[in-house]
């Protein structure tokens, strides 16, 4: 957004970091305990781990770059 205030990209960054860490955390637990949800396909690819990590990394980038008060 143009002008002052918290940019929308910061809100998006916060949301992505939160979601990314939650999904990554679950993915690591799932991998460690080998307790995969019934009916879900391709669990051998450990999707929550890499997708959660990707979301968290992208979100962190946005949080840092668009944090309030950054010149």
């Amino acid at each position: 957004m143009h002008g002052s205030g918290i940019p929308i990209w910061f809100f998006i960054g916060v949301l992505l970091v939160t979601y990314g860490l939650m999904i990554l955390g679950y993915g690591v637990y799932e991998w460690q305990t080998a307790s995969y949800p019934a009916g879900v396909q391709l669990t051998n690819l450990h999707t929550p781990v890499w997708w959660g990590g990707l979301l968290a990394a992208l979100g962190l980038l946005y949080v840092v770059k668009f944090r309030p008060g950054r010149a």
Binding site: I12, M22, L45, P48, W51
Partner: protein, 631 residues
């Protein structure tokens, strides 16, 4: 939503689906619930945060005209990327193959580029708050009032339909109570749009856009891995299609090759209808005159950003088939029944006919169900299982292709993200309609017709109250649709009836100095009457479709396309004839409104990579390449 989604969306959100008492498609875990709850908390946080920045009329209704090209562009394309669109077109791809992609490419890209390059300067320079506002400046109050009332009624009813559609989808997918979904979503929308106005709606649309990609992108990626890549997908579809349809399976992979006749392609459309009806009238009507999307671009912080926004949006629009069309195609070969056999999706009419009503689980309408299934390609053994009430013999509609694919690949957390993306899509659709209604009501109906000399703060208060009013009426409309199912057809047809006459009125107003006020008013009014008459004709006499679409082989999908085309031609003729018989405005009064009578402001020099034309040419090249690639 674009007009030709209508028949898909009607079936997607049909109350009849509630009659089929299968278990919900998905079961949410605590992690999924947490993901959804965090989304609602974030939406409300944004609403409360933006309240302090929505105090004046310009801030509340136009987001302070502070949006960058990226935000306006993403919001512009996101306003059209609702959940009904995602699910409806994924189901459409399952039925018709990549022909459904026309609604994303030829049905969007040329119009988006035209808006950015040619029309936006006129909208932006005259500083109108809305599309009816432009008509008021160009043609006067009569034409503006026709447009404003049509917009207001359409938007508020569409919001209700959207709300109900979300509740039905949540009921079918998750088993949620209808009233719970309606009230939670409407309260959230009323709070965040009522507090933050258009800025809040735009923020949430950008948020929704990111969520949709974050939640839905995994489905085609994992689907392609499992299908053996694009070549594997193609081979499997070719093998399956021979048993499912009379059209050759190869047709599922061609955009244009088989559109030379209505009967040669799965959709039953002709290329003339696609190019003229969809690519020109419907697409230009929607993307360049529908206030819901144009309002997003009007909120840009300068003319260059306003012109760039639709062009940025066009790149994302071209990418959307990857998360919508591809999952539909993948569903054709990957979805499985509980016994491991290939799952075939069916029409909503079949699911409704096979609804289980008796406590024993046996069908109480087996003759009707049997007749409905006989028209499908479901294997005979599977049909017997359905008739016997086998709990493993589930029937699902085409439009459930996307949620079924999500359930197939997304585990806890990721499924919550996917469901959140769907909820976000529904809610931003409601918010978009309600915020646009608020602006049109306040600036184009209340201010000119009821209270002309109110203060700015009075109009902001009226805007907030109208949002509350809009949400309440939407809830009423949602329950009305639940009680009287047929209403949905008519509500969703409102847009399709209105779009072509409006496009003709705006194009002639913007590019023909000779067009007069009376011509604009009469063209719009008579065009709407003509379009509505064609709609009712086909509704009451289904065989009239052959006359409207000029072929006995035409399918319902062709109706909206050709009806829009004839309505545009009719309106154009009325405007031309009446204009030639009446006295035009002096050219001096058309400054800022009409091509040839307006000196556009000079834009500041920018580096070549920020040039609007450069990005537009790049978009055209990608668009052309994609169409040739999938010819």
């Amino acid at each position: 939503m674009i007009v030709n989604s209508i028949c898909l969306l009607t079936s997607l959100a049909s109350p009849n689906l509630l009659a089929f008492s299968t278990a919900p498609l998905a079961h949410l875990r605590p992690l999924d619930i947490a993901v959804i709850a965090i989304y609602f908390a974030m939406v409300l946080w944004i609403g409360f945060y933006l309240k302090g920045r929505s105090n004046t009329g310009e801030e509340f209704f136009m987001a302070g005209r502070e949006m960058t090209a990226w935000i306006a562009g993403l919001s512009f394309v996101s306003a059209n990327l609702g959940s009904l669109e995602l699910m409806g077109w994924a189901g459409s791809a399952y039925q018709y193959g990549i022909l459904a992609t026309h609604w994303y490419w030829v049905g969007a890209i040329p119009a988006m580029l035209f808006l950015g390059l040619v029309m936006m300067p006129f909208y932006y320079v005259c500083k109108t708050h809305s599309v009816p506002g432009y008509l008021n400046l160009r043609y006067g109050g009569q034409a503006s009032s026709v447009a404003a009332f049509s917009f207001a009624i359409e938007m508020i009813l569409m919001s209700g339909v959207n709300m109900f559609a979300m509740a039905v989808v949540m009921k079918v997918v998750l088993g949620w109570d209808i009233s719970f979904s309606i009230f939670v979503s409407s309260i959230a929308v009323a709070i965040y749009v009522g507090l933050g106005g258009l800025r809040s709606a735009i923020f949430n649309e950008v948020l929704q856009f990111v969520l949709i990609w974050g939640g839905a992108l995994l489905v085609p990626i994992l689907g392609l891995v499992q299908a053996g890549g694009v070549s594997g997908l193609k081979t499997k579809i070719m093998a399956n299609m021979q048993s499912m349809t009379s059209v050759h399976g190869d047709s599922y992979f061609h955009l244009w090759r088989d559109t030379g006749s209505f009967a040669a392609n799965p959709m039953g459309v002709h290329w003339t209808g696609i190019v003229l009806g969809l690519g020109f009238v419907i697409s230009f009507g929607y993307w360049t005159t529908d206030f819901l999307v144009v309002q997003r671009v009007l909120a840009a912080h300068n003319l260059r950003a306003a012109r760039m926004a639709p062009i940025i949006g066009s790149f994302f629009k071209m990418a959307v088939p990857f998360i919508v069309i591809l999952p539909g195609l993948l569903g054709l070969v990957l979805l499985q029944n509980p016994d491991g056999s290939r799952r075939q999706l069916v029409g909503e009419d079949v699911v409704a006919a096979c609804s289980v009503a008796s406590a024993s689980g046996k069908l109480d309408n087996s003759a009707e169900c049997s007749a409905a299934m006989a028209k499908t390609t479901l294997p005979a053994a599977y049909q017997q299982k359905v008739l016997a009430g086998d709990p493993n013999a589930e029937l699902h509609t085409y439009n459930q292709a996307l949620p079924l694919m999500m359930v197939r690949y997304l585990g806890p957390g990721l499924l919550g993200l996917g469901i959140t993306a769907l909820i976000a899509g529904f809610m931003s659709g409601m918010a978009g309609n309600v915020s646009a209604f608020s602006t049109v009501w306040t600036y184009d109906i209340y201010k000119p017709l009821i209270k002309k000399n109110g203060t700015d703060s009075h109009y902001v208060l009226m805007g907030r109250l109208s949002i509350l009013f809009g949400v309440i009426v939407s809830i009423g409309a949602a329950y009305l649709v639940q009680q009287f199912h047929g209403i949905m057809d008519y509500v969703q047809a409102l847009f399709s009836i209105f779009v072509a006459p409006l496009l003709a009125a705006i194009l002639f107003g913007m590019f023909w100095k000779r067009a007069t006020a009376l011509a604009g008013f009469l063209g719009l009014l008579l065009g709407i009457v003509f379009s509505a008459s064609l709609f009712m004709w086909v509704k009451l006499v289904p065989s009239a479709l052959a006359s409207v679409a000029l072929s006995p082989d035409a399918k319902p999908m062709a109706e909206n396309v050709f009806r829009a085309l004839w309505a545009f031609v009719f309106t154009a003729v009325v405007i031309i004839v009446v204009s030639l018989l009446t006295k035009p405005k002096p050219v001096a009064e058309l400054e800022g409104l009409v091509y040839g009578a307006t000196v556009l402001p000079k834009e500041e020099p920018v580096p070549f990579y920020k040039n609007v034309w450069l990005w537009a040419i790049l978009a055209v090249c990608i668009f052309a390449t994609l169409n040739i690639l999938f010819w």
